[in-house]
Amino acid sequence: MKPLFAYIDANSGSYLIQVIAGAGLAVMVAAKVFWRRVWGFLTRKNAAPKVDSGSSRED
């Protein structure tokens, strides 16, 4: 245990860990958004025949 416990403020550590992790977290969000777009594009493409043969809101 550190001395002078009463004077220790943990906020600086909370601040810095966010800044350090921030870049990685931002990349993860970007990757997630990118993947959703790809997935959305692929599923739209696959769903297209159904739209053609059936009821047609997207037509």
């Binding site: 966010q18 992790a21 993860m28």
Partner: protein, 470 residues
Amino acid sequence: MSGVGVAGSFRDPSGFVFTREGTLYRQVNRVFADQFELLHSSGLYDALTGEGLVVRHEEADLSLAPGPDAYRVIRPKRVGFVSYPYEWSFSQLKDAALATLRIQSVAMEHGMSLRDASAYNIQFDGGRAVLIDTLSFEKLREGQPWIAYGQFCQHFLAPLALMRYRDPRLGQLARVQLDGVPLDMAAGLLPFRSRLRPALLLHLFLHARSQRRHAGEATAAGSSEQGPAKRTRPFSRQAFVGLIQSLEGAIRKLRWDPPTSVWSAYYDEADSYSQQGLAHKQRLVGEFVRQASPQTVWDLGANTGMFSRIAAAEGARTVAFDFDPATVDICYRKLAEEKVKNVHPLILDLTNPSPAIGWENRERMTLAERGPADMALALALVHHLAIANNVPLQGVAGFFRASCTWLAVEFVPKSDPKVQMLLAAREDVFPGYTREGFEEAFAERFEILRTEPIPDSGRMLYLMRAQNAA
């Protein structure tokens, strides 16, 4: 007549809560004027109240303000029963954490942010976790990380991880750690395997290490230009979104299920009665509640809430207390499934009820200060207090008298198998534990209105009304 400040509402310079002639108000100070206006003009207040995530408030007359510097006075909707994190089960704390993160996400969409993430700012109303502190918001500081991150991890993530990986009873740590579980303490108590969860590794273990390493240094959020502020880069909006999503993932993945034995007990709650005996007891409890027509009911020793539901079905706002975190968790989950909104399950050991804690022992109320209830149910409870915990029957009656006006109480005789189980491991030093002794002790404080036997059990059910009740 001036207002009376609520004892737990003094830390925030933006305003405080007070009561006046029994009505709850909140004074908004001038220093918070811009943020308060932004809360409304940004559409955040409407968005959050629309989702049921923040308590609604109405504007009140500014002349009601008891303090100087008042900008507005608002009248928030009052929640049914104030409860504290150390009285919540795992699922309740988890829902409170998820509500806090959802509020933060919505706030960011409206250009605002939570400036604190205290679990005490959350209450349960209508079965849902809601934020009660309207003054918790500030304009989003572009390029800055979340100021409430450390507090969120201490108030929610650390206790949930401890309850998940060590023991659900560790939720009680909140009683002694008023600003949440210190992260170094949580990191020391958690098993090694919890580090294999990347989100826990980051938000708990590395976070704790960072707090230790950089304790006392100034940051860009502080006033000094010294220290690590110089070498930090702006925190992008995408990083902020990533942080909240990562915390949400960490919380969602923390799952704890009550042991199978407790689940099976849920379905066998009635094993002390014949089918006919249980049906009769349920009918009697319903009749007693209708006769008392209470607005508030405390079901003391509620187990998984079978009788709480009966009181709730009669329209009473019911609090279901039990000392076992597993049964309370099951009760909470089942009530959510059944969409029962007026039963609030809570963890409480009646032999050691929640004390007054915090600054001047006035920040968090005792159980007694949050009562009395119009009616209490004490079903299959007295033998636990009198025999398992050696509380004299006069003391039990005195506690109930302080807790309620109407009382539905069950007496379980010594011949009952459940009492025999309690006596199996201890000397019978309870000669006064008889039906006559019970009635004598309770008649000192209550008028006994009805006495009904429960078929096939030897147990008796009483309806009592407090003497000298208004």
